[in-house]
Symmetry: C2
């Protein structure tokens, strides 16, 4: 018999969704108003301003797409790619592969630049791809790879694209709010993110921003955008400018209450403080994991503080440990993906979930389960090591 | 200075979003869990079963698209239309025009069958279009036109499509939960709806269902679906069947809590009771409006009980009245669209908002404002006339 669903209170330390602040959940449940209500239109303006702050951009075309991050990705591609175009796509994890799918479904050619999973995108390889394909009109890459926990050099990659006369599409799903995202300083042309990572909002919305150059390319398209729902020329009429709002689709009103509250929390904390907090909790987690005897996979200079790729000790059953964490501790961590599946865990410290309690709780739970399973760990050292970082 | 947003408590009697039940808002704000959590996967199965009940279908491919109704529409078109196809599209309001856009953006040809706004789709005209275009592989039409409040004969139209060897796409955004939607009995092949109308859930999700014939056409496609995000062959891997769930995109976890609760409420009430309630409140509203001296636009046999198109009395300023209702009564009703703009209002009685109190409140508020504006109305008769229907 079907009845009301009461979820348990999990601690969400996977690749997202991350823990949502009670302030955000409370905003989410406020009474629904109309999507053309003058008060809602004011709220939309505020959200736009808060997103401009989060993205560090003055881009006029900055708004939340009414669907998850993968729709935000698709919004960037379908608006900027036309049939016959050549697009250089960097792949160093799962999401580069999804970008390739997007390019090809737009009738364009994807030139793949591949790097190992766990490594950042190689600037030299991208430069060589532009040498071989001077016709390329776009460069697409992932700033923070959710599948591996690696940061690539967005500033250098955007500069390279601009230097070759190409626009850039940057996936900032996992970076926004957790590490520096400097859309204007980078000169990025189209950037998308998600709400369920370091913004610690509910999943389902994708903030995007387009540079004036990107808007110009959209306005000069010869082919209609293949998606009506994601056509920015239509969406601009609802979200854009100071003129009368034209109905396009019904905005997800309550989700936008939640996004507004989460962006407000980010502004109150300040971007620099939020980044510092992510770094600090990351350092404590790593100190604890290493004290326990576990090894990090990604080199320190490319590591994302919000997503920590840890090597599973030899002989330990991946799924057994994750299931025990979930069942016995209501604690979710992420599995590895692709070639890293079964060999690594992904421990998220994203947004509201990036806090001292979660670091210590996770270390304690993981140590207890690994010890029970007979893994070769140094018992009793993890929490003191993390505490030492917090007390620094 | 930006601060937390506290919306007023509106009464939502426009074309949607409609009033959301406190039960649904409360479910919405429950703690977020992971989108691959075993408990969430159970919830997905329950939602699928509840949607099958709401749609009256045994279709295996029945699920909520993670985006608003216009994305649900697009999901039906991009999966069933291939470049070069011929699609017969019926237009008797705004949404037929949007269907045409979808068809053309798929590289197909739309054969338009036009009827006046305020009239249902003509079966004879559709039959003639099939005579002229025997190659047509799809028929698309709107069951309940949100822009006019008109119901078309879905059973006859789906049967006609099947008879001509075509599949049918049916827009049930405004009908689902308010009037009979009989997907299997009609033999409809792809049906989409929205959460923010008669399901009285928050806006942002689009329930869809595909018949086995539609699934077969999707599986036999020669061209990849142009949208990665809406590709049902990929989405089936996450929502479909009994096998292991494959990650496609991050589901909007909290929105699905809300949808689950609203579908549960529909099941508890029962479809027949819900339809009877919509009809009863509609009759009371119409009795009140007519007693006041206002005229309904749509002929009784095609009227939607959940969306009432009323003629604005001569000399009355449309926007002034709607703004006064919103400012003084926190009451939202809808404007007319297209040729009906400025000449009609759309009064919604959808889902949770279809109740006695809303009928009486709206009649009282409308009468007070029209009297103040000097409109030629019969004062004091509306509420007693509505009450007489309720007391029947």
């Amino acid at each position: 018999m079907t009845s009301s669903f009461y979820p348990p209170v999990r601690t969400l330390m996977g690749p997202g969704p991350s823990d949502v602040s009670p302030r955000v959940l409370s905003a989410l449940a406020r009474p629904t108003i109309g999507h053309l209500d003058p008060l809602f239109v004011d709220l939309m303006d505020q959200i736009k301003g808060l997103l401009q702050y989060a993205f560090q951009t003055a881009n006029e075309l900055t708004l939340p797409v009414s669907a998850p991050g993968s729709a935000g990705m698709e919004a960037c591609f379908v608006n900027l790619v036309s049939p016959g175009d050549t697009v250089i796509v960097c792949q160093n994890g799962v999401f580069g592969g999804r970008m390739k799918e997007n390019v090809e479904r737009c009738g364009a050619t994807a030139i793949m630049v591949e790097d190992a999973w766990g490594e950042p995108v190689s600037i030299d390889k991208v430069a060589a791809a532009f040498d071989q394909h001077p016709e390329a009109s776009l460069l697409a890459f992932v700033h923070a790879e959710t599948s591996t926990g690696v940061r690539s050099d967005a500033a250098a990659l955007c500069a390279l694209a601009a230097d070759r006369g190409a626009l850039s599409i940057v996936d900032c799903v996992t970076s926004l709010g957790g590490i520096e995202v400097l859309v204007d300083a980078w000169g990025a042309d189209a950037v998308y993110s998600g709400t369920q990572k370091c913004l610690s909002c509910i999943p389902g919305i994708s903030p995007v921003t387009f540079s004036p150059r990107a808007v110009e390319r959209i306005r000069n398209r010869k082919h209609k955008v293949q998606s009506w729902f994601l056509d920015m020329q239509l969406i601009m009429g609802y979200w854009g400018g100071s003129t009368k709002r034209a109905y396009h689709h019904t905005a997800p009103v309550n989700d936008l209450y939640a996004l507004h509250e989460s962006l407000l929390m980010l502004q109150e904390e300040g971007l620099e403080s939020a980044h510092r907090r992510h770094r600090h909790n990351h350092e404590a987690l790593v100190a604890g994991l290493e004290a326990m005897g576990l090894a990090m996979v990604v080199a320190p200079e490319y590591r994302l503080p919000q997503l920590n790729l840890v090597r599973i000790p030899e002989g330990v059953d991946d799924a057994l440990v994750r299931n025990a964490l979930l069942r016995e501790y209501d604690l979710e961590i992420g599995a590895g993906l692709g070639a890293l599946a079964g060999k690594t865990w992904r421990i998220g410290l994203m947004g509201f979930a990036s806090n001292e309690r979660n670091v210590l709780y996770c270390l304690g739970a993981l140590e207890a389960i690994l010890a029970r399973e007979g893994a070769p760990i140094n018992a009793g050292r993890a929490i003191p090591a993390a505490r030492a970082v917090f007390n620094r």
